[in-house]
Amino acid sequence: MSSLMLKFLSRLYTLFKFYSTMALLGAIAGIVIGIVEGKPLVLIAAFLVVSAATMMVLLSAQSHRRPQRSHGLPCERPPILPESLMIVSLPSEVADDIIGDLKDEFDHLRSKYGRSSAVTWYTIQSWTVFIKAVAFHCGLSFGKSLTSESRR
């Protein structure tokens, strides 16, 4: 009976986390809609800024591109934008190792769970690495865990 109660409470907690996050996202969406309604130009400006930043990252990554390593598995490229973000943000001495490790794991996940799961995982990992690298460049302490990431 008590284990059933514990299960129920744990389920309640999970649901609470999910719905609270959604409420927070809804509130943020409300703010965004408010801003866009007040000044529609903000939407265009945001679109332009995001597009320009994406193009800059892709172009910069293109100029820093390293030769692809060949693996035994049939090769498929991971998503370009997350990879480009890592190429641009990571120090050159660790970039190859981290990107290579992530690529290996991406191939493994793709063969096991399918492309969409692998792409989702790769994107989340690359954004994590990107945020840590930016924090490292800015001298923030949690960016130090980037080196532990590269050692894995």
Partner: protein
């Protein structure tokens, strides 16, 4: 789902367990939903008491939008995710 070759009693028991699981899931969702909606409403009333009605942040963003957005997303999530989990709880084989 239920195996047609099982005896009727066992099938009825399994169906009952499925219904109980679904009801528990539904109660959990409704409890959290009600709690959060009441919480948001209380917060909104409190904030409206602190400031004027239809307070504008930076003379720009209506405070009402923020709370309405939160309410709306919670309800939409309940209709999508909640219903999906209720159906899953019913379909899943009871332990």
């Amino acid at each position: 789902m239920t195996n047609p070759h099982e005896p009727t009693g066992a099938r009825a028991r399994e169906a009952g367990l499925r219904v109980i699981h679904t009801l528990i899931e539904l109660i959990a969702h409704l409890l959290i939903l009600a709690g959060l909606l009441v919480g948001i409403k209380v917060l909104e009333t409190f904030v409206h008491k602190l400031w004027d009605q239809d307070y504008l942040f930076f003379n720009w963003i209506k405070l009402k939008y923020i709370f309405d957005g939160a309410d709306l997303v919670i309800l939409v999530c309940f209709l999508g995710w909640g219903v999906y989990y209720l159906v899953s709880a019913y379909v899943k084989k009871p332990e």
